[in-house]
Symmetry: D2
Subunit: 336 residues, 4 copies
């Protein structure tokens, strides 16, 4: 049985997911495309999905009877209405991050899904599908004892001038926010932001680097260095300190070379290469669950929790290192 998928938003990521569904993964086909700029949809149709039908609007695509499941890869501000429409139509929907541009928006999706009574939404937090994080989680669950501390870094070579201080949370650290909740099976209770001096390569509207400190309900203290103009590469580090020992996120596979009086290996510079394999795995997971009529993986609730946490981090950015409380309502049974 083949899952018929409609893709809303045919920019870079929508195009790449369509290629993935058509050329890489078993079990699904893209039967419908839509984009606010129809030329984008036509381009994707031509290159990857000649049999797909193009719809004028996302709403029409969602309503189309041949569409079994929906991918929302459009502009962030449109995610909420499309996801709500898919839930209303009872169709599984994979939504790229952010689930909504506000915590309230994400909350509305949670409520709609709870009312529907069944999980339909998967959020595109792909790190949970990365082989490295999965191996780290296994090491933490089996070997290090209960976690006490997490030391992490999210480094990116450079950002443009338009990238501002809050974007370090909403666009960059959002991945750590989600993946550590999953890794630790825990929730956040407070956030704090500390600043060193600004890096010379930073910009006028950007404090860079920053150290975000999160505290969890179980008492784990997490420090995350966010450094988006680190210059040398795209580098993701994570070390978990537990009762019995320490485990670290694996480095990407590299060839060790000995050249010119240096032992050396390559560091990635483009974020798109770092977790590229996990996109295949997350969509494969979506195909499996959607074919069975539901959803699995990162949920609406996870998207909502990430949004609430991000808001607290941004609030903390404007204090002098003070802790900002993070409180979530009771978790609905659907997400137990």
């Amino acid at each position: 049985m083949t899952l018929n998928i409609g893709v809303i938003g045919c920019g870079m990521i929508g195009r790449d997911h369509t290629r993935r569904l058509q050329q890489v993964l078993a079990g699904a086909q893209v039967v419908a495309l839509s984009d606010v700029n129809q030329a984008n949809a036509e381009g994707v149709q031509k290159d990857f999905a000649p049999n797909a039908r193009i719809y004028a609007t996302g709403e029409e695509l969602i309503a189309a009877p041949e569409v079994h499941a929906v991918l929302v890869t459009s502009w962030g501000a449109t995610h909420e209405p499309y996801v709500l429409a898919a839930i209303a139509a009872g169709k599984p929907v994979f939504c790229e991050k952010p689930l909504a541009t506000t915590a309230e928006g994400a909350r509305r999706i949670v409520e709609a899904e709870v009312q529907f009574g069944k999980r339909l939404v998967q959020v595109g937090f792909m790190r949970r599908y990365d082989a490295g994080y999965l191996a780290l989680k296994e090491a933490v669950d089996k070997h290090t004892g209960a976690p006490i501390l997490v030391h992490a870094a999210h480094r990116n070579p450079a950002v443009p001038e338009a990238y501002t201080t809050p974007m370090a949370i909403h666009d960059t650290m959002i991945h750590e926010i989600d993946v550590f909740r999953w890794l630790l099976n825990d929730d956040y209770v407070s956030a704090r932001v500390l600043y060193p001096r600004n890096a010379a390569r930073s910009h006028t509207k950007l404090r860079d680097p920053q150290v975000v400190v999160l505290e969890t309900a179980k008492g784990v203290l997490i420090d995350v260095e966010i450094f988006v103009n680190c210059h040398y590469g795209y580098d993701i580090q994570c070390e978990v300190v537990g009762e019995d020992g320490v485990a670290s996120l694996p480095e990407p596979m590299t060839v060790d070379m000995r050249l010119g009086a240096k032992r050396q290996s390559t560091i990635l510079t483009d974020w798109k290469d770092r977790f590229v394999a996990s996109y295949d795995v997350e969509l494969n997971d979506f195909i499996g669950a959607a074919t069975a009529g539901g959803a699995t993986g990162p949920s609406s609730w996870d998207g909502y929790a990430a949004a609430v946490t991000a808001d607290a981090c941004v609030a903390a950015q404007s204090t002098s290192g003070e802790a900002v409380a993070i409180a979530l309502p009771v978790r609905p049974a659907l997400y137990a």
Copy 2:
């Protein structure tokens, strides 16, 4: 367009490839199955390919009009006739190693394919598709300068008593034989085998470990430790020494842990886990080329060259460290 594949041989590897084609990879479906023991075919049909038809013989399956391409995953001795039948039928065929049980058999396949005038055969030398070897090849091609030496090891925790000295070549080192021809873009001219004392865990009919030394047409000297009772794990090592530097095969991804006064990471023990990702990639390559009516990747000629080299290594096992010459006929233009 979906490629219709028939699978001959429904044992462990045929079953796994069918799963891969049905559940993991895009672009193909298994429409026909055959096994000398029909219950095996029925089991695979039930678990992974309910719509596939079961044929009494591999020959009938090859002849079936709905079958576009063939996978030969049956018992080694049957590979040659099935591959020859597929060539005769003009159908692309993926054949697990060995291509044939003798060099002469592999030669007959080369001749049949040359006569047909177009590549149809891909041999299942999956290491060429491993991300680690691909990265190593890139490092050698771009950074180390022309290769001069290769140091390698193929270690396996244990083998049963039935495993004899020549099997160390035909079943184990055969992978190094193929992958180094590809890595170096070179051919072998001689083989030599040197023995240390036998390992305590070896058996009466097995010299273990052995060091096989190959020399190439370009003058590269390759030493390969084959140690199939090394006890500690399944471990594949390869270091290339070139004019300007050295590059090493990456280790499999692991979590670095600090526990009980030890810094440690896991070493695999089951060979099936070591190159598991490359099976997906090699079959994806087959699907692409077969859909276009041909074949790519490791060729009949590569299978033949591996068989000739393996025979020389086995001959060298019975000498006192003397070099045994390896000579191939002129390479047909089809494989240039």
Copy 3:
């Protein structure tokens, strides 16, 4: 010319330094010993320095004309008076940490030395002499660009019940406090302490682990994990993030082993083994400078700065993560 040294305090460290001066290093001999418990002095005399004379008090030893230079390795509370006496006598003095048990005491030593007009005191901060930290400093000075962040950890397998929360600063983190001032060539302006939940192996009077955050005058933000019941080993980590890249403190030399499905190497468990080679180097430095009539290396001022910083860290331990200011008087020209 041989430097005649008198050693005050013949416990574990005094005994070890005497062995070092008598049996390992060139250029010095121990001619005088003293200990509050004379049997200790006699034991050291018998084992390592048969020609040394035993003095009833440290003051007498300092005054003895054959003593050119003094090692103070007695109980911490006695350091200040002995160092002051050595300065009064115009004799070079090596003092183990702490220079004094209070910042005020260290200040009095600074003032006495400034009044004397010449450096006579070297404090036993041995990490500055460790080959790993020296290599890290060179990497930071030459390659990483100006430092922005430091991530560090000081982990110890276990401490007894008598070890309390402030001791994590005075006895453990004191080494980081000194070595980072030297590594960064900078001074601290504030300290902050953050706590995760207590580790299960911690004690009633000990918050463990803790994360101490220091801010420097140049704007570097330093986070130091202090975990004295980490169980798995004695492990010192330090990573410096600069404008252009990152450099890490080398791990101690270890043999990489592959055994029992694990790649592994040994982690030290006894702190005395971690910087053992640097004791030779620091005393060699002392011999050289003292032979020339003065002192080099970690100064009284460094000891005073460490004491002031430690007091601020301890004050910060009793707040809820608030920053405590660190202010030093103007640095005397003697320590420029």
Copy 4:
């Protein structure tokens, strides 16, 4: 008690050992110097040993009553007569490699020492004192099980045109020859040399690289890559494969850096830096044993065994990969 040492040969190594004895190590002083070119002796006297007396000949220095022990650091061809003279005088003697320029010469020293009835000679095979090899030996003795294979490499960035094929054995591999006898506690029974094509940077009188294969009495097979124009650095590799696992020689301590899209660390380029710390340790060992009137560490017998083995390797260089037998006479009880 201070050991009075006379140094014969005041070139680079004699000068450095004099500095070591005068400025670094406890327990010895240089009281006599000699050099075929007296200006060399005067230079060393002036820089490091102002109280040393200069002798016109090595023989006179050996005979001088104030000289307790002798260092022979003169031109290789003079080692044998000086060592024989020291033995005749009953004085402990440290002799830099080679002990003699021929196996017969080394044999004469062995016989003289046996006749004297007590060990007096230490040969300057410093690798036995290197912390890395010591740690490797401990790992092999305790963890890997009995050795079966050794894979090694001795790489040097470049050699001048005057360096010929046999020098790869006598000047370069001589260190591996000695250190593996010690590491394995074994003797060699055969040698074989295999050549790849010549490296582009090699010279007309030099086959480079070469792979030397040694077989031991206990059946261990050792392969050593000797590559003296490897260009990228001075790099010493050694991996021991035992019944239960594998252990590797530690890399020199380095700072791991992340810079310019590369993870990197420095590789040494000057052989003098690689084992620099072991010179201190070997001389410290000599001082201890010589003060007690004897010698320890690498013996005359070890020097003789190395010379016999080196001759066999050079003989093997002229064959087509054939094994050349290595036979030693019965080991005298003095060297048990």
